[in-house]
Symmetry: none
Subunit: 417 residues, 2 copies
């Protein structure tokens, strides 16, 4: 079954909002084995909406419309859909009653316009709106094609779709689609793909899809099957092959982020961590403390922009700063070992670099960042400092600095660096 999502709304075409409705529905459809082939956005215009429905009817089996179910004259989605399908609309008594009740409890006067929200074809399934005044509808034509109209606001659409539309669609497919996402850092997209090119090419079920993430790369393995167990059985060998080729770069799976994995590992190993940040300006600490439960492992953090702060809190030597500069391997090394000493933490992360856009020199360009990690154990202190050349605007350099620091800390405590 092929699906098309038609979103109706001038606010989308003006760029006032992103089309998160289409994103949500696509993801939910994928999970029950219905592939979305097109998203279409049109404005609140009768002819263009009808035209979009006709086009979708031509090329897809499931046509889901979002938006344009409100009470104003602009809202014409349901009317255009029923016109296209040749269906007459009558008052839906249950929806009418709950509309009356809703306005009564809100102590607000109901406008005449609201009444059009409870008109539906008798042969359609009316989908309750638990969080607004506009119910949705779903209609299965004799040829088996499905047409649905859902409200635009995500907090109305998402529960309506999940609770009332999805079960009907799922009953028609009888299939499950299961995904396993491998998360990769430290290798370029094209190099990673080269390493697994044959696997990407060979696979049809499961499919393997690479995706550039937020500084990282993901490979999504997706299997279609009759049930969860069969899907997992299909995924397992492909997952194993990807681990064999890319294992050293895989830091997590599914909804993992570098900081989630790091906090999980620190908790599991009973280790504490401290941070000292120059160019990342607190972002490493902020990302680690984004993780619920991080207070158990996060000791303290310093944002030491100024040289004085580096000397005072971390014991960086004045001579080191004078001889090599604040942005240098030597300074990063003293920052991270000083941080262990100052905080008594088991793990320390320190970075120093140039986030730009100003402050770069030919010798030390914008994007040059030293990332230091130190781990203290029974044998002493292990220190690792990497030199990085990040590119992009300031926020991206900060973000990549933080990701590299977190990943390097993770590797250090797992003995992989």
């Amino acid at each position: 079954m092929r699906a098309e999502i038609i979103s109706v709304g001038t606010e989308l075409l003006l760029g006032q909002i992103a089309n998160t409705d289409a994103q949500f529905i696509s993801r939910e459809l994928a999970a029950i084995g219905i592939g979305t082939y097109y998203h279409t956005v049109v404005g609140d215009n009768w002819d263009r909406v009808v035209d979009a429905i006709a086009k979708a009817d031509e090329r897809c089996d499931v046509v889901i419309m979002t938006g344009g179910l409100g009470p104003t004259d602009d809202d014409l989605t349901k009317e255009a859909l029923c016109h296209y399908l040749g269906l007459e609309m009558v008052r839906h008594q249950k929806s009418y009653d709950s509309l009356i009740k809703r306005f009564g409890s809100l102590n607000k006067p109901m406008s005449e316009n609201n009444l059009k929200q409870v008109l539906f074809p008798e042969c359609a399934t009316v989908l309750d709106n638990d969080f607004g005044t506009a119910p949705g509808m779903l209609y299965e034509r004799e040829d088996g094609k499905i047409f649905a109209a859902l409200p635009g606001p995500p907090f109305e659409l998402c529960p309506m779709f999940t609770n009332y539309a999805l079960p009907i669609l799922r009953a028609k497919t009888g299939k499950v689609l299961k995904s396993n996402v491998l998360r990769i850092y430290g290798i370029g997209e094209s190099s990673a793909e080269m390493l697994v090119k044959d696997i990407l090419r060979e696979q049809t079920n499961p499919t393997v899809a690479p995706l550039l993430g937020n500084g990282d790369i993901t490979f999504r393995i997706t299997a279609m099957a009759d049930n969860d167990e069969e899907a997992e059985r299909l995924i397992a060998p492909v997952r194993r092959s990807l681990y064999e080729r890319l294992g050293q770069y895989i830091y997590g799976e599914d909804d993992d982020t570098p900081e989630k994995v790091l906090v999980r590992e620190l908790i599991a190993k009973g280790l504490t961590i401290a941070t000292a940040e120059s160019c990342s300006g607190g972002l490493i600490a902020s990302r680690i403390t984004d993780v619920s439960g991080s207070s158990a492992v996060f000791n303290e953090g310093f944002v030491t922009y100024a040289n004085e702060a580096k000397m005072k809190h971390l014991g960086v030597k004045k001579e080191t700063l004078d001889e090599f500069g604040a942005v240098s391997e030597q300074t990063a090394r003293e920052m991270v070992t000083g941080l262990i000493a100052a905080t008594g933490s088991d793990v320390a992360v320190a970075v120093t670099g140039i986030a730009g856009p100003t402050g770069g020199t030919p010798q030390k360009p914008v994007g040059l960042v030293y990332v230091g990690v130190a781990v203290r154990d029974d044998h002493g202190i292990r220190v690792n400092v990497t030199k990085n050349n990040f590119i992009g605007p300031r926020d991206k350099i900060k973000f990549n600095t933080a990701t590299t620091a977190i990943i390097n800390a993770l590797k250090m405590i797992n003995g992989k660096l």
Copy 2:
């Protein structure tokens, strides 16, 4: 001129990402008076992509494609577009040279696949990619219709579109659409709208549109005119009226963020700032240091999750922590005054609270956050501590904590708190 945006990418149809590219481009086009009539999303499939281009060519004058410019075999947007337009692609020497240089400076091997990224029709304008390896292209056909292909990742697309594609499109329209955005914090959306209801209703040119932002609210005043001066003349009186009604809540305009305005004011006044964060975990420091030039005013920052850190670095008294707890007005007050003493900064910001989702009690629920600001001047130290009850998930509580701290610091140095 009518525009259509065609976004190519299976990740959009799987719902892995929202189509923020189409949102961004639509907004930018609207600002120069080009209406977007359709968004279309298709997968990485040759026939469907070519079909989408043909359909867009039928109904629009400007066709902008996003995504599918990468190095892999999946990436076929540019190839499909040039095929449709009947244009042959050859190596674009300038792009080739910078690709070689780029890989050289990254010390990474370049794969054969990367070379297809520098193939372009000789008659097209190649758009530089300042943040990635895939340049874009823009082509004006003899009939005046414009076709463009831009990369998918937003951090590559947005600057490329704004800096290189938009000027070409603007030159073709002749109309200017000018906007002035007022940024508001500290009042609810519906309350703000009530205060200016009549203004919102009356206006047609300029229009005034309220929009819920990231914790703040914006009012966008937009005028369409023949030139910049006329647009500004139309905007001025409406802007003045909004300031009269909402002035106390307006913290900035246009692309301002609370942190940008704060850094600007600190620089203007020659003041330095330091931060001490518990529940916001470094986010305040990170947001302040997101602003280019902040190193001139940002002294140092502490992430003091643990009580020991609060005592050691900020001089919070053990008795205060014992009697009132870490999350208390008293602790916030000692943190912020201690921070002034420890760092010698002119301005200090300190927060302590419960970001959740765990750690709340009936007396001190999740979302309870004390925000302290201290300002030192010739007359001594002024301190302000506010008690806040934020709602939402952990990241939202952290974000609102940071925004409130930054806005309060701004108000304090401007004598408004």
